[in-house]
Amino acid sequence: MRRVVRGIAVAAVLVGCSACGSNVAPSADSSSPIGRPQPGAAVPISRLPVVLPDLSRAAVPVAQQLRERYSSLMLKAGSSTTPIAEMAHDYGEMGKLLMAAEYRDAAEPCFLNAQALAPDDARWTHYLAHLYRLRNEPARSAAMFERTIQLRPGDAGVLSWLGAVYLLEGRLEPAESLFAKALSVQPRMAAALFGLGRTALAKGDYPRAVKLLEEALAQDPLASAVHYPLAMGYRGLGERDKAEAHLKQRGQIEPAPPDSVLSELNGSLQSALAYERLGTRALDKKEWVEAAAYFRKGVELAPDSASVRHRLGTALFMTGDARAAMQQFEEVVRRSPDFAKARYSLGVLMLTGGRESEGIEQLTAALRFDPGYVEARLRLGEALRRRGRFQESLIQFEQTLEIDPRNAEGRFGFATTLIRLGRYRDARVELIEGTQAYPRQPEFGRALARLLAAAPDDSVRDGAHAREMARRLLEERQTIDLGETMAMALAEVGQYQQAAALQREVMAAAAKAGRPDVVRQMAANLALYEAERPCRTPLRMDDPVESFEPVP
């Protein structure tokens, strides 16, 4: 990569360095500068030129922050009385800011200068190590981590980082040694356990890999990234069930080594996107309050950013403050009317808050701006169905299936809406296909059992089959609605006494669960069974049989 040296900046450095001696610049790999500096003394030390990158396209707060810091640095660099320690600090601070803004090439000479001026300060080699890592130069990164360890031998975090770099390079033995060393300093460090476990996995030592990765998870249960290599470890041991169980829990949160320099970087740059990234990371870790704080800072810097404001709304909702969340979503919609995600979020909140018409309006608008927004379509379909607008609801589920024919929730919504429309034969076909296509989604079976037990259409009902299905479903899980289904099936096959007895049991359970509304609705069926008559209403108002939870 070419390094651009701008004329004016170079002149400033040269003028500022009129007291400087040698013209030889320290290299990144030299172990010490020419002449060891005495702290507090103003000693002429060769320094690499530090040049601000072109900031003409950068955001104003970012450019301003960088220019201010740079002016301050140049002033001090131009003074022959600035103590070395202070100079080192200021170069380091400039480097950090440039690194936070991802101007990594520009950051390098700052850290190199800081290191040259303060060679015993491990921070600068530490920053350089991360800089080279982020610049995808693992060899240089490793060299700097090694220097950092020389200066700070007991730093478990740095030992672990170096191990990770070696692992990236495929150097398994040195990686293993470093992770082990990190653990000798800090025996329960999740990051080192994770690294050691991954090293064992790479070597094919599955028992050891599983043991170490399980320990890492025990130390940091939120480190969802451990699950995948752990799954591979169990796979190697032939324990497929455990492998699959861990695969379902996989995520992106890695157990991070304790690292003082990286945490200093966070929040140093006044950048909306930087805060958005920090906030997103906090969201991933379920740190809702921290996430909201980061997003709020992002919004302050970029009030028109629909994305940051929408995330702020999401974070606020997760903290339990639905009202504040709604305010943010409304503000997004006001500023960016075509930001479909905000309309969706607003719509969902409104529906939850009982503002059904408005919620439907927002979801409809979301789809106007983003017709492929499947989630919005599903929620709209449900909302329309709850309002009795069955034909419109059906269209939404149909369109969902046009976008994604394999969408299980869409197929289920389509089928249950057909029931509402009285199209029982079509519904049965869809539900039977659903049970075959989505064997892990029990909702299709539950709804089918209801239909077979209680559809008004004689050609659709099959009481014996309904009873058998209900029996199998109840073996897996006992719920009020499944109990009700079994009662319907029993009545359909003429076992009225048993149906009534079961219906009373289910009503008692509903009462105990604090659902008097459900108890009242069930009373109508009880009366039927007591009169030795079957049920002919497969779904009641707001029936939980219509709810759907996708299996990951």
């Binding site: 990569m1 070419r2 390094r3 651009v4 990158p53 072109d54 900031l55 396209r57 950068a58 955001a59 104003v60 707060p61 970012v62 450019a63 936070a100 803004a101 991802e102 101007y103 090439d105 520009a106 982020l134 610049r135 995808n136 130069e137 693992p138 692992l167 990236l168 390079e169 495929g170 398994l172 991954r198 790479a202 990234a225 699950h227 995948y228 290599p229 799954a231 591979m232 796979r235 497929r240 492998a243 699959e244 695969l247 996989r250 992106q252 890695e254 740059l269 950048s271 909306a272 996107l273 930087a274 990234r277 075509d338 701006f369 983003d370 492929g372 994604d404 024919p405 394999r406 296509a437």
Partner: protein
């Protein structure tokens, strides 16, 4: 490039090598884009074309002449005008295959917009059968693969679709500094891929919903079909951008199941879903099964997933050396090929970033995405050596590489590479290395259909090749044992490759024995197949 950071601008073009006129040499198809954004003209582009009216896909006929002394003289003639191929959409990639079994290779163009199918009429012309065939998918399609997944003798089609992206809904994305840049794929929703079944009558049926179960479609960029579990049925691997990759295992009943996650082929060893642009399947360790190689973004490193023979994979990216040595690069087109004909598959990656490179941007480079391409030599021990610096001055060029098609364009017995560059010239890299060693060239053709049999696997009983068959490990296993290769046109990125099989024999001039496993399941053998020339093996013609 418009300067508006429209997504497709950074993703094309693919390129194609195929013999459209059946004269025995590979012709060239070049994919072309257009100006995006309503009302904008080509002369407003950041790199305006010389002749905006000529912006369409190009067919170039190879008029190769082999002189008496064996010297190859390559010359290409633009026959687009008389070919009947009108490709003025925003082209992304190309796939080739004989869809009607008439012995002439047809063309499928993936577009940002409706795809196009051109049927070769065997007279130098093509006819647009996009709508009639039912394959004019209007999605944002990138790579496609022709394969006979149900073994009925007709080539079916898998189309990898990318993102639900519209110009009018183009998001604005920024770097941490606030500078504008191209958006990541996560800014948009993925589109679902399509599997089309060839009905044998010029039409295809979309069987996606019925055939592809249990998998979450992602933004597909690379597609390759191979038999990963050696059960005689072709499977499909799809490289998705920032999303789990898919391994569609053929269930032998018209359906596929995605097993990528447990198979270790969806994510890296760290459990990360990486960018995954180019992809190829090949037996790099000569143990008889198909391994996977994928190019990735800067900072991710290319991935190598090693097959244990049962379609279960282990991530060898770091151990092989490929991961660390590609960390600083964003790779697109890539394929397994034996550049030096020593019998071991090597790798070439075509590079170029999608996010501006800081140093180039600061230097006001008008195209701050260019990078060198790389060449990796297989060391026959599970590791690779970066030989880019010794591979010739063409590897010093820094361009925005995208598609790459691999094939022996001068028929001299080594694999050459055609490269499509974004906002740059097309490059043709002529291999002058492999032909110094002995080689076996095979064209695998169907008995009744006269077309290249994609998916046909070839085992060459490899004689000793001297120095490269050293002691220990993989090299010892390969010494005198079988080397498996496969006839295919898919793989790489949005490109179509030479379907002939070229096997390097090193220093051995001995005519080997060859076994072919045809897509139908039939197995045949040929003895003493001549070396250093191309031989056509027709199904039914062996023992």
């Amino acid at each position: 490039m418009s300067g508006e950071f429209y997504f497709p601008e950074n993703m094309a073009p693919g390129v194609g090598l195929f013999d459209f006129d059946n004269d025995g040499d590979l012709d060239v198809y070049l994919v072309q884009g257009q100006m995006l954004g309503g009302g904008r003209r080509a002369n407003q582009a950041l790199f305006p074309p010389r002749d905006p009216s000529a912006l369409k896909g190009r067919l170039l006929r190879n008029d190769l002449r082999v002189q008496g002394d064996g010297t190859r003289v390559l010359r290409f003639t633009d026959v687009t005008g008389q070919s009947g191929i009108e490709a003025r959409s925003y082209g992304m990639g190309v796939a080739t295959g004989d869809i009607d079994n008439d012995g002439c290779v047809d063309l499928y163009l993936t577009n940002f917009g409706p795809n196009q199918m051109f049927r070769n009429q065997c007279d130098g012309t093509f006819v647009d059968v996009s709508r009639h065939s039912g394959t004019d998918d209007p999605s944002f399609s990138v790579s496609a693969s022709f394969l006979d997944y149900d073994r009925d003798g007709w080539l079916d089609l898998y189309v990898g679709n990318y993102l639900d992206y519209r110009i009018e809904a183009n998001e604005k994305c920024f770097l941490v500094s606030g500078e504008r840049d191209y958006c990541p794929p996560t800014a948009y929703r993925p589109q679902r891929d399509r599997l089309y079944h060839n009905n044998g009558d010029g039409t295809f049926s979309d069987v996606t919903g019925k055939a592809l179960v249990d998998g979450d479609f992602g933004p597909a960029l690379g597609v390759t079909a191979a038999d990963f579990d050696s059960d005689g049925w072709l499977d499909i691997y799809v490289a998705n951008d920032n999303h789990d990759n898919l391994l569609w295992m053929n269930q032998r009943n018209g359906t596929f199941r995605n097993t990528a996650l447990l198979a270790g082929a969806a994510l890296t060893a760290e459990g990360k879903a990486e960018a995954s642009m180019g992809v190829d399947a090949g037996d790099f360790d000569n143990d008889g099964d198909e391994d996977l190689f994928m190019t990735e973004l800067t900072g991710e490193g290319a991935n190598l997933y090693v097959n244990d023979g049962s379609a279960t994979f282990e991530d060898w990216s770091a151990r092989s050396g490929l991961g660390p040595r590609t960390l600083a690069y964003t790779g697109f087109g890539a394929a397994w090929f034996d550049f030096d004909n020593d019998g071991w598959l090597d790798i070439l990656t075509v590079n170029g970033t999608i996010a501006a490179i800081e140093a180039l941007r600061q230097a006001d480079d008008p195209l701050p995405f260019h990078q060198r391409r790389q060449l990796f030599r297989n060391l026959a021990n599970g590791q690779f050596e970066d030989v880019t610096d010794r591979a010739g001055t063409t590897f010093e060029r820094s361009e925005v590489g995208r598609g790459a098609a691999f094939g022996d364009i001068d028929n001299d017995g080594d694999v050459d590479v055609l490269i499509g560059n974004d906002a740059g010239r097309t490059r043709l890299l002529i291999n002058n290395v492999g032909s110094r060693k002995h080689w076996l060239g095979l064209r695998l053709v169907g008995e009744k259909v006269g077309r290249d049999m994609y998916g046909a696997r070839v085992a060459v009983l490899r004689p000793s090749t001297g120095a490269r068959d050293g002691p220990g490990g993989l090299a010892a296993r390969a010494n005198g044992s079988r080397v498996w290769r496969r006839a295919r046109a898919d793989g790489s990125y949005a490109s179509a490759n030479d379907p002939r099989v070229l096997v390097g024999l090193g220093d051995s001039a001995e005519a080997p024995r060859v076994q072919v496993v045809w897509p139908s399941g039939r197995v045949e053998e040929w003895t003493a197949v001549p070396v250093d020339r191309y031989t056509t093996l027709t199904e039914g013609g062996g023992r």
